[in-house]
């Protein structure tokens, strides 16, 4: 178990360096004139161009720039954005609110999809099952760029149930609407997978045995069936975190949340290499950890799985 975790952590280090290198190369290849991108359509003066070029080593080759970046990174310095702000500060500002948003979304999505999934599996073929199928189809058909402004308009402005925008220090209440929007993109698959998995397990031999032993229906469903059905769902939730981060770019934009998605979009727009790489690197680490966590959860859910 311990050795397994250490091995995974070591792999992470390699993945991290590989990912930053690839990212840096991609951003570098896409970078045309970051100084012009910074000032928009205004003319850039000669001396300003020289000053910025030297400050950010823009005149040097790819490997030298990458070297400067890695040198900083290894000493814990994520560098400076082209706007002059320390990237560490920007991350400290952006990550907490995005993480909170994503967590609320995950909790909403998981609670909703597992409950509805299990219930429709039990009432397979019934009215509830069919209605939930239609809802899933509708949710799947609507991309987040439609859902986000639509929900904002209906629930935020016209009905006034929720605040239409949130800020960095948003309360859970302010984040609820964006989180629901975000949850919408992952609810559909999670719900279907739960349903299928539960339906399959209901027919399994061990369920018949449990029933034969005289266990109550509740205990059979919630302990025996659900636990075995959750493995694919947990995997999916782990993977969905990626979808949530991608969806965060749109959601944060619509609901004015200055988080990771917003910073990434801005960094790409202004060709701000260090900023993109900094944020995505952390995103990569986060992914790796979530995947590790998911793998470890398997063992918790299924005693037959052991890691050496």
């Amino acid at each position: 178990m311990f050795r397994y975790i250490v091995r995974r952590l070591l792999q992470m280090v390699l993945t991290f360096f590989g990912a930053t290198f690839l990212l840096y190369a991609l951003v570098f290849a896409n970078q045309k004139d970051p100084i012009q991108a910074l000032v928009g359509e205004r003319p850039v003066t000669e001396s300003q161009r020289i000053a910025l070029t030297q400050r950010y080593h823009l005149d040097e080759g790819f490997f030298m720039q990458y070297w400067y970046y890695m040198k900083g990174l290894l000493t814990g310095d994520f560098g400076t954005s082209l706007t002059g702000r320390k990237i560490v500060d920007m991350m400290a500002d952006a990550w907490p609110v995005t993480l909170r948003l994503a967590l609320i979304a995950i909790v909403i999505a998981a609670t909703f999809s597992v409950t509805v999934g299990v219930y429709s599996a039990l009432k397979r073929g019934g009215l509830f099952d069919n209605v939930s199928l239609v809802i899933t189809l509708v949710l799947l058909a609507m991309p987040i760029v439609v859902i986000a402004p639509l929900f904002q308009l209906i629930f935020g402005i016209q009905l006034g149930w929720f605040p239409p925008t949130a800020t960095r220090d948003a309360t859970v209440w302010q984040l609820l609407l964006p989180a629901i929007v975000l949850a919408c993109i992952v609810i559909a698959p999670e719900m279907r997978v739960t349903r299928t998995s539960v339906v399959e397990n209901l027919r399994a031999d061990y369920v018949r045995t449990a029933r034969a032993k005289g266990l109550t229906r509740m205990r059979v469903i919630w302990v025996h069936v659900l636990r075995n059905s959750l493995i694919p769902v947990v995997t999916l939730i782990g993977v969905d975190l990626g979808g949530l981060m991608a969806g965060a770019i749109v959601t944060e934009h619509v609901f004015n949340i200055p988080g990771v998605g917003f910073n990434l979009a801005r960094a790409i727009r202004t060709e701000d290499g260090p900023l993109v790489v900094g944020f995505v690197s952390i995103l990569v680490i986060l992914f790796l950890f979530i995947n590790l966590l998911v793998d470890l959860l398997y063992a918790a859910l299924d005693p037959r799985i052991r890691y050496e």
């Binding site: 991108a37 928009g40 020289i50 500002d93 909790v107 239409p164 004015n256 200055p258 918790a300």
Partner: protein, 545 residues
């Protein structure tokens, strides 16, 4: 099952930690709606150091923190504000600024000549890379503060240190008087000094001579009616509060929260919901419903934006003036401003914006009047190209009107016209620099100071900073220069108008649209005015009731 309980605990602990994180930093709901303060929406400013700020978000915030040397009256003539007087010598070369006494920065430091001189020297010094440094170009000695890379940008050599660190043209006379010597006479200099680049900085700003203190930008101190409360909360908000006993004009409100939005549509949602009091630019997507949502709190006022397309001089197919006239006549400006911009912009028929003194309507004459028949005749006679394109940057929301313009040209002239897409403005510029055939170039201009010269100089003069299409006419250049050194504003305007007449004959660009501020405000505020620079008038706005 004893072996499994640690797992359960781990899972449980994780869940609790997640929930705690989710609910953690809530409860910071400090809505001070009862007080005499307003919330104004802006975008994240790029910089708050005055000499580095060139966009409207930064200059809006700076306008609350600083008190300018000059401001502009209703006719856009400069009026001294923080200055007691600003006088020029007979040739408009040496300008003497006398400051009003008794003014202080919000940290208590008195405002002296040195505060201005040091701040301007910092702004002009090349290696500081300040965005607004070009404002100091006219001051004597500016060139000595710049360095040139000896072997170009790609070369291995570093640029040498500039010759001087301070502007030769700035001289302190006493604590409240200083002189500015320009390298060439310029009668409009007083207006130039109205820009935010000319604000003073306190002693507290400097770590040592010419080096800004770390973190000063986030906690900037100015000489204005408001001061920062706390720090610049990047991407979230900037809160300012009234300075006690301010010596200048005192605003009617006690504070402003500059709320930062990434997206104007989100800002509009907050405006309708009453979470923001003023939005200076309502996005085009929300314009259709703005009248219904806001009623008479939805307003328009002129601003200085000027939208046009330029003909690259290196593309010979446009060298015949009749071709340029025909294309201009083929465009129905009114239809585009009505249909696509929903009246948020107005058709342009002159080469400068209506907001500057000396503007005359319709200097473009028949050339800017939609006349497809005449356009077709002219175009056929001049044997214009059978295909053309209008190149624009995709990230600027230009597709709709460029396509519409192209369709009008197609219909009027019977030729093929397509929109050329470039990802960014920089891509467009680099193609123009390499003299690749880009067709018409989409361009826009926002003035820095309200003079005709600020349009004629950068846009149409030989080597002008935004004259990307390469128009050059010595007679025109001379007229602009003569206007700049003229003794009275009237003389200057006469010269500049004569210069504009040349443009009307030669049509180096096609004027398309003049911008307007389309703004809205909540029921909480009153007397909301948005000026030519897209800034809210902070001295007039008041809270209702």
């Amino acid at each position: 099952m004893p072996g499994k309980s640690p797992w359960k605990m781990a899972v449980g602990a994780t869940a609790i930690a997640l929930l705690a994180a989710g609910c953690g930093s809530g409860g910071s709901d400090d809505s001070s709606s009862a007080s005499n303060t307003v919330v104004i929406g802006i975008g994240e400013p790029q910089h708050l150091i005055p000499t580095n700020s060139t966009e409207s978000n930064g200059s809006e915030v700076l306008a609350s923190l600083f008190y300018p040397l000059v401001d502009f009256d209703a006719q856009n003539n400069p009026v001294p504000v923080a200055a007691e007087s600003i006088t020029a010598d007979a040739t408009s070369t040496v300008w003497t600024v006398k400051l009003k006494s008794g003014f202080t920065f919000s940290n208590g430091e008195p405002v002296t000549s040195d505060n201005y001189i040091n701040a301007w020297n910092y702004g002009a010094y090349g290696p500081n890379g300040q965005g607004a440094s070009y404002f100091f170009e006219r001051i004597k000695g500016f060139a000595d503060l710049q360095s040139k890379d000896p072997d170009g940008e790609e070369g291995p050599q570093k640029a040498p240190e500039p010759k001087a660190k301070t502007l030769e043209g700035l001289k302190k006379v006493d604590d409240t008087t200083f002189t500015i010597t320009l390298s060439a006479p310029f009668a409009g200099w007083e207006s130039v000094m109205g820009y935010s680049a000319f604000y003073p900085l306190p002693k507290a700003a400097w770590k040592s001579d010419g080096v800004l203190a770390d973190g000063f930008e986030d906690a900037i101190i100015g000489n204005g009616p408001f001061k920062l409360k706390g720090k610049w909360e990047h991407d979230a908000q900037i809160v300012v509060e009234k300075v006690a006993d301010f010596k200048g004009t005192v605003p009617k409100i006690d504070g402003i929260t500059w709320k930062i939005y990434q997206d104007q549509q989100a800002e509009y949602a907050d405006l309708v919901a009453g979470n923001v009091d003023v939005q200076t630019t309502i996005p085009i997507e929300s314009l259709a419903k703005a009248s219904a949502d806001l009623g008479d709190r939805f307003k328009k006022s002129p601003n200085s934006t000027f939208q046009f397309v330029g003909f690259p001089t290196f593309q010979k197919e446009f060298s015949d003036v009749r071709v340029r006239q025909a294309i201009s006549m083929a465009i129905n400006r009114q239809e585009i401003t009505d249909q696509i911009f929903l009246g948020s912009q107005s058709p342009a028929t002159s080469f400068v914006s209506p907001v500057v003194a000396g503007y005359r309507e319709n200097t473009c004459g028949d050339n800017c009047v939609y006349n497809p028949t005449k356009a077709k005749e002219l175009y056929t006679a001049a044997n214009g190209p059978k295909e053309m394109k209008i190149t624009y940057n995709v990230d600027g929301n230009h597709k709709a009107w460029v396509d519409a313009t192209c369709n009008q040209i197609k219909a009027s002239l019977g030729i093929n016209c397509v929109g050329g897409e470039e990802p960014k403005f920089a891509d467009l510029l680099s193609k123009v620099e390499k003299k690749q055939p880009v067709g018409l170039i989409r361009l826009g201009w926002v003035m820095d100071y309200p003079l005709m010269e600020n349009y004629l100089g950068p846009l149409y003069s030989t080597g002008g900073s935004s004259n990307y299409y390469g128009y050059s006419n010595p007679t025109f250049d001379n007229l602009v220069k003569e206007g700049s050194v003229a003794k009275t504003p009237q003389e200057a305007i006469a010269k500049w108008q004569a210069a504009e007449d040349i443009l009307a004959k030669e049509m180096p660009v096609i004027p398309l649209r003049n911008g307007q501020n389309v703004f809205g405000y909540s029921t909480k505020v009153n007397n909301v005015n948005v000026d030519l620079f897209q800034k809210v008038d902070l001295y007039k706005i008041e809270v209702v009731g």
